[in-house]
């Protein structure tokens, strides 16, 4: 049975499709097995990774490794700092000892000089070496007249 022959409604419909004067923007789109000319209009279920996102991922990966390295670096930096501080402390202690030692030497020297100033020519320094004391002893015995009693 032909519908077109029965009533005008079907005829009217056919005219609308074929005339090309419809205001519907999707009227030209053919859904019946043809390739759609506006393929990018639809978003697929499988998410496509764009270049920007790839770069972002790369940046994340790099920053992650950088963070890891930085945390390692902290440990690596800490040890040299610790040893450096230790070395500085040792150097300071050494310098302090040297300074104190030098101060003591100067003090002793001054004390000896002061004593010799007050005691005059008869003064004999306590740190005089024994061989030198022997010579001085012999010299004094000689000055006394050698065998005089």
């Amino acid at each position: 049975m032909n519908i077109l022959k029965i009533g005008g409604i079907g005829k009217t419909h056919t005219n609308n499709v074929n005339s090309g004067v419809s205001t519907n923007p999707f009227a030209a789109v053919n859904f019946r097995g043809n390739v759609l000319p506006f393929g990018d209009v639809f978003v697929g279920t499988a998410k496509k990774v764009g270049l920007g996102e790839k770069i972002q991922n790369k940046i994340k990966m790099i920053s992650g490794s950088v963070l890891g390295n930085v945390s390692d670096l902290g440990k690596r930096v800490y040890e040299p700092v610790k040893s450096f501080a230790g070395r500085i402390r040792e150097d300071l202690v050494l310098a302090w000892d040297k300074t104190v030692g030098r101060t003591m030497e100067v003090k002793d020297l001054l004390a000896e000089k002061t004593k010799s100033l007050f005691k005059g020519k008869d003064y004999v320094a306590e740190n005089t070496p024994v061989p030198e004391l022997r010579k001085m002893f012999e010299q004094e015995l000689e000055n006394m007249g050698g065998l005089s009693v």
Binding site: K119, K121, D122, Y123, V124, A125, E126, T128, P129, V130, P131, L133, R134, M136, F137, E138, E140, L141, N143, M144, L147, S148, V149
Partner: protein, 118 residues
């Protein structure tokens, strides 16, 4: 008369920790014909209070305790009595009393020991 300089030299030798100082005091001081030099030297050897230095003044004839000069001998006795630690002196005196071959030295050591124990 002994000079102040020589007294100072003997005092420095007394305080010296060098073993050579005992040798110098023995060779030059105790052998000196001067009584004062021997007296100061004997006192210095006593004050050193070592085995070697005490042996010189306690065990040798004509030195320290056994010196012919009573001044030197008395000076040595006084120096020994003034020592705080007489352990080494007592040890040497005991050895001298037992072992020394000279009667006079043994008698002097015995008398000094009695004096210390008083």
């Amino acid at each position: 008369m002994i000079s102040n300089r020589l007294i100072n030299i003997i005092n420095v030798l007394e305080k010296s920790n060098d073993d050579e100082s005992v040798k110098v005091l023995k060779e030059l001081g105790t052998e000196s014909p001067n009584n004062e030099v021997r007296e100061y030297t004997a006192k210095a050897l006593v004050n050193k209070n070592t085995h070697e230095s005490l042996e010189i003044v306690l065990m040798n004839d004509g030195k320290g305790l056994n010196d012919l000069s009573p001044v030197v001998a008395m000076g040595t006795i006084n120096a020994i009595l003034d020592l705080e630690d007489k352990t080494e002196v007592m040890k040497i005196l005991d050895d001298t009393i037992k072992l020394n071959s000279i009667e006079k030295i043994r008698e002097n050591a015995r008398a000094l020991k009695e004096l210390i124990l008083l």
